[in-house]
Every structure is written in structure tokens, then in C-alpha cells.
């Protein structure tokens, strides 16, 4: 009898019986903290601590090996704004984001809509199409480097059919587009699955009602799927922005770490890595750049929030 009384939370009007739950909530609290302990410890050590340290380090002129640091205030920021590599990284990263995020969002949405309709072998298609996302960026980059190599499939194909020879990987105009293409290729399947899960939650009768009114499939998707998917689209675009601004692996592997040819594949994160480990006394610069990147990402996501609402309408 008392067990039932303890389990149900009856909050009676003041004066009448108030169940004493303090014993239970204490035990709950202790268990909860115990469950959370490993996570909180590791988070504090490797995530929270570093964030605070990075903020501090961005104001320092720091030597990683020697361990000295001296106050530099905003001089790091000044240096960055004068550095042509910084602006190259800005341009490249921005170009990259402005192409990849819309491309992968739209492509993922289209694929998900197609897969959601009456398709045979749906499971087979989804499994197959997921392959690029499963592949590591390293393996994917290598496969693409071979594809776009001077002897590679794509280059040869273009050569035999149009007679034009493009040296993709050594041409400053083409290196970054190859990376962009590669990224759209690998991340689209992941977002396609996310959209698919969202589409499955939309009641079929909405579509049927519109079909009865004579709307074609494109119209049906435009007026039903797209608005209903607004919260998921918000997630996809946000994660897309956050991920794209931080592009590192592909640029590093393809350029061998230096952001070439001619700084055309230099991205923010590659520059951060460069300042942190490749040049002397510039750890503070690296941290300052990281802080700048954070501000840019936060601004971009806030800006995007103006256009796509996170809680979507369900009218």
C-alpha cells in the first residue's frame, strides 16, 4: 500500500497528506550521479577544459614545445586579418559551404521522397546508396584522387568525349570542386536516411487527399513533404553547416597537408592545424582562429535560423 503511494506522485492541496519522497529522491539523485559520472568526468576533462583553455590561449603568443607563453591580447587577431592565407581559407571554406550544404540537402530530400513512394527493393536501394557514408573520408578521398587522376576514369572519359584535358588535382580551379563533389557524394546518403525517417511520420492520407484533388507528385511533395519536414530540414542544414565549416580530412589528404595547389584547398581547419603544428610559436594564433571559426559557425546557424524555423508548423 505504501509502495503504491510512493510510486504515484500525488500532490494534494496544502494541508492534506504530503507524501515524503525525499528518501526516494535522494537515492535517485545518487544513482543518477553515479550513472552520469564517467560521462561528466570525460566531458569536463576533454571538452569543457579545452574550450576554456582555447579561449585563454587565443590571447597568448604560445610556443608549444618550449612551453612559454606571453600575453598578446588581440595581436593574434590583427595578424590573422593581415594574413593572405587567412583570407584564402575564408574564400575556400565559404565557397565550399555555399555549394555543398544546399546540394546535399536538396539531393538527400529528393532521394528520400523518391524512396518513400511505392518502390520495389526499397531496402536494397537504401543499403546500396548508404555505401559512400560508410566509407572513411580517407578511403573515399583516395578513390576520388584516383578517379580524377590524370590517368583516371573521369579524366579519360572527358578526354575521349570532348578532347579537353583537365588536370583536376593540380589545377587550382578544379581541386576544390573535386573535394566539394566528393563531400556531397559521401554525406548525402546520411541525410537521405534522416529525411526518410521523417517522411515516414507523415500520414499518408494527406498525400491521398491532395491526389484526389488532382495534384501531381511534384506538387504533392512541394506542398506536403517540404513543410512537414521543416524541423528535420533545420537539423540537416544545421549539421550540414557545422560539418562543412569544419572540413579537414579531404583537404588534408588531397593536398598532402599544405592546402595546395596555390592555397586553393586551404580550409579554416587546415590553417588551424598548420598554425598549431607546422609553424613555430603560433599556437595562440591557432586558438584564435578556432575561436573565429566558432563565431562564424554560430553566426551562420543563427542566420539560417531566420529562414528555417526549428519547430516547424503543423497547421
Amino acid at each position: 500500500m505504501s509502495a503504491i503511494a510512493k510510486v504515484s506522485k500525488i500532490d494534494k492541496v496544502a494541508g492534506v497528506s504530503k507524501i515524503d519522497n525525499s528518501g526516494r529522491s535522494n537515492r535517485d539523485a545518487r544513482t543518477a550521479w553515479a550513472f552520469l559520472a564517467p560521462t561528466l568526468l570525460l566531458t569536463a576533462l576533454f571538452m569543457l577544459g579545452p574550450v576554456l583553455f582555447a579561449l585563454y590561449a587565443s590571447t597568448q603568443k604560445m610556443d608549444l614545445i618550449g612551453g612559454h607563453s606571453s600575453w598578446a591580447g588581440l595581436k593574434n587577431l590583427d595578424y590573422l586579418l593581415d594574413d593572405h592565407k587567412f583570407w584564402a581559407a575564408c574564400r575556400n571554406t565559404l565557397r565550399y559551404v555555399l555549394f555543398v550544404v544546399p546540394a546535399q540537402t536538396v539531393l538527400a530530400l529528393v532521394l528520400a521522397c523518391v524512396l518513400n513512394s511505392r518502390i520495389r527493393f526499397k531496402r536494397g536501394f537504401v543499403t546500396l546508396l548508404f555505401l559512400p557514408t560508410l566509407t572513411s573520408s580517407a578511403a573515399m578521398t583516395m578513390i576520388f584522387m584516383w578517379l580524377f587522376n590524370n590517368n583516371g576514369l573521369v579524366t579519360q572519359f572527358i578526354q575521349t568525349h570532348t578532347g579537353i584535358t583537365i588536370r583536376f588535382l593540380s589545377d587550382p580551379a578544379w581541386a576544390l570542386p573535386v573535394i566539394m563533389l566528393m563531400n556531397v557524394f559521401s554525406t548525402t546518403p546520411h541525410f537521405m536516411i534522416v529525411f526518410l525517417a521523417g517522411l515516414q511520420n507523415i500520414p499518408r492520407n494527406l498525400y491521398e487527399a491532395m491526389a484526389l484533388d488532382g495534384a501531381g507528385p511534384v506538387a504533392r511533395h512541394w506542398y506536403i513533404s517540404v513543410p512537414q519536414l521543416a524541423p528535420i530540414t533545420f537539423y540537416v542544414v544545421t549539421m550540414g553547416l557545422i560539418g562543412c565549416f569544419q572540413v579537414f580530412d579531404q583537404a588534408f589528404i588531397m593536398s598532402g597537408g599544405d592546402g595546395g595547389p596555390e592555397d586553393s584547398t586551404l580550409t579554416f581547419t587546415l590553417l588551424i592545424y598548420h598554425f598549431a603544428f607546422k609553424t613555430y610559436n603560433t599556437m595562440g594564433l591557432a586558438c584564435m582562429l578556432a575561436v573565429v571559426l566558432t563565431v562564424i559557425i554560430l553566426s551562420a546557424t543563427t542566420l539560417m535560423n531566420r529562414f528555417i524555423k526549428s519547430d516547424g508548423s503543423n497547421a
Binding site: A3, S25, D28, A29, T31, A32, F35, L36, P38, T39, L42, T43, L45, F46, M47, L48, P50, F53, A54, A57, V114, I119, R120, R123, F125, L129, F130, L131, L134, T135, S136, S137, A138, A139, M142, I143, W146, L147, N151, F185, T187, H190, I193, V194, A197, P217, M239, G240, I242, G243, F245, Q246, F248, D249, I253, G256, T269, I272, C287, A290
Partner: protein, 277 residues
């Protein structure tokens, strides 16, 4: 009647589009496999798409070299991290969903805030902390920094919130301790969510490039991704693309097998929280 025809044409169009995109997706991989069976001379001559004969030289070279060490490194780290991570994240998500205690909301909000910070801000100081702890160039460093996956904590929390509590309460009335309830009752019921978590975490660790680049510096300790990159740089000079492709394909096989094996869980669960790259 004409509507049927329209349906037929539409269905054909949809299937056609999917087949086209599926072929497009497969092309790079098929090309990589074909290349891995060619000899270096064939590649340089670039005469035909198909290899002259199934030349296993590339695979033999790959499997004989340090590649197998790197493979083993990646496999052991991935397995350890997956087990530890699923355990820690599920415990945390469960605690945040089930128990009422002071600080519950603020911890959750703090965790969400942390994921918004890009990895670059934390990556260098985390490296300094790791080095200070004497863990530079060790796999332990990789494990410790990869165990906490806030996206997974988030996912498990949402999962447990939507989960009925009757069975757990019955267990409590029967005198089960919270840990026993968790292990014997909750975990089995959460199998699909655990499987989904496991796939993503394993995939994340297996494919991770930047972290190993940062923390691991000696060739013997390399993870598969950075090892592949290092080897490719060498082989690229001699245009031994067959070896590079063989390495790439071999690195994809384990994760592909795991994915096919755990596929059914993955597709049934609503996936809304895995990060992107």
C-alpha cells in the same frame, strides 16, 4: 485508364532515377575494385577498363605490410570504444531521462551547448592535456577522447523518455536495485537503439582521421585511416594505384559487414541525432 498508364510511366521514371543514382554511387567503388586487380603497368597504360587477369599482387602486398598492424589497431580501438561508449552514453541518457534530481536540466543543456562548439576549438588543447597526462602517441588517448558521444546521449535520452516505465516500476516494487533493473530489464528492451548507437560509434571511430593524426605519431601505432594516407603518399609517387585501391577497399570491408549485419535495427529506429562530417 490513362491514369494507370501515367502511374506506370511515373513508377518507371522513379525506378529509373534510383537505378541511375545507384549506378553512379557504385561506379567509384567498382572502379576501385577493378583497379586493385590490375598491375601497375596496366594502370599506366590505361588501355581497358577491365583488368587483363585477376592480379592479386596488390592485395598480397597490402596484407603483408604494416597495413595489417594498422588494421588491427583500428579494429581494437574501435571495438573498445564502441563497448565503452555505448555503456557510458546509455547510462547517461537513462539517468537524464528517468531520474529526477537537482541539476538534471542544466547538465543536459550544458551538454547540448558543448556539441555546438566546433571540434577545432577543443582539438588542440585536448592534445595538450593528453600530452600532459603522458598519453601522447597511445591508443588510450584515442579511447578516452572518443568515449563520450553527446549525440548518442541525446538519442538515448529521447529514446528512454518515450519508453513506458511500467516494467521498470514493477521491477522496483519487486526489490530490484537500479543497476539490476538497468542491466537485466532496460538494456534488452533498448536493443534497437543500442544497435544503432553501436553502428554509428564504430563507424565514427573506424573512419576517424583527424584525431589519430593528432594523437598518434609513430608508424606502428597508426590507425588504418592515417596509415592508408601515409602509404598512399609513398605509392602515389610510383603510381601504384592498385595497391592504394586495394588498401581502400580492405578498409571498407569490416564496416560494410557490420552495417549489413546490424542493418535491420538501424533502419527501424528514427535516426535524428548522429553527427555529420
Amino acid at each position: 485508364m490513362s491514369r494507370r498508364l501515367g502511374d506506370r510511366a511515373g513508377s518507371l521514371g522513379l525506378h529509373g532515377f534510383l537505378v541511375f543514382y545507384a549506378l553512379l554511387t557504385l561506379t567509384p567503388f567498382v572502379w576501385a575494385v577493378l583497379t586493385s586487380f590490375k598491375s601497375v603497368r596496366e594502370i599506366a597504360l590505361a588501355e581497358s577498363i577491365l583488368p587483363v587477369a585477376l592480379n592479386l599482387n596488390a592485395y598480397r602486398q597490402i596484407l603483408g605490410s604494416e597495413f595489417s598492424t594498422w588494421f588491427y589497431n583500428s579494429m581494437s580501438v574501435a571495438i573498445i570504444v564502441t563497448i565503452a561508449s555505448v555503456a557510458a552514453n546509455t547510462l547517461a541518457g537513462y539517468a537524464l531521462a528517468r531520474f529526477r534530481f537537482v541539476g538534471r536540466k542544466s547538465i543536459f543543456q550544458a551538454l547540448l551547448l558543448i556539441i555546438m562548439v566546433p571540434a577545432q576549438v577543443t582539438m588542440i588543447p585536448a592534445f595538450l592535456i593528453v600530452a600532459r597526462m603522458g598519453l601522447a602517441d597511445t591508443h588510450t588517448a584515442l579511447v578516452l577522447t572518443s568515449v563520450v558521444n553527446i549525440g548518442s546521449i541525446f538519442m538515448m535520452r529521447q529514446f528512454f523518455i518515450n519508453f513506458p516505465t511500467d516494467i521498470e516500476e514493477a521491477a522496483k516494487l519487486d526489490g530490484c536495485s537500479p543497476i539490476a533493473t538497468f542491466v537485466c530489464i532496460v538494456l534488452p528492451m533498448a536493443a534497437p537503439a543500442l544497435a544503432t548507437q553501436a553502428i554509428f560509434i564504430f563507424m565514427g571511430v573506424w573512419n576517424e582521421f583527424m584525431k589519430p593524426l593528432l594523437y598518434i605519431s609513430s608508424v606502428d601505432n597508426y590507425m588504418l585511416t592515417q596509415g592508408l594516407n601515409a602509404a598512399a603518399k609513398q605509392y602515389e609517387k610510383s603510381a601504384a594505384w592498385n595497391i592504394i585501391m586495394a588498401g581502400s577497399i580492405v578498409s571498407i570491408v569490416p564496416i560494410l559487414l557490420i552495417y549489413i549485419g546490424l542493418n535491420k535495427y538501424f533502419l527501424t529506429l528514427n535516426d535524428q541525432t548522429a553527427g555529420s562530417k
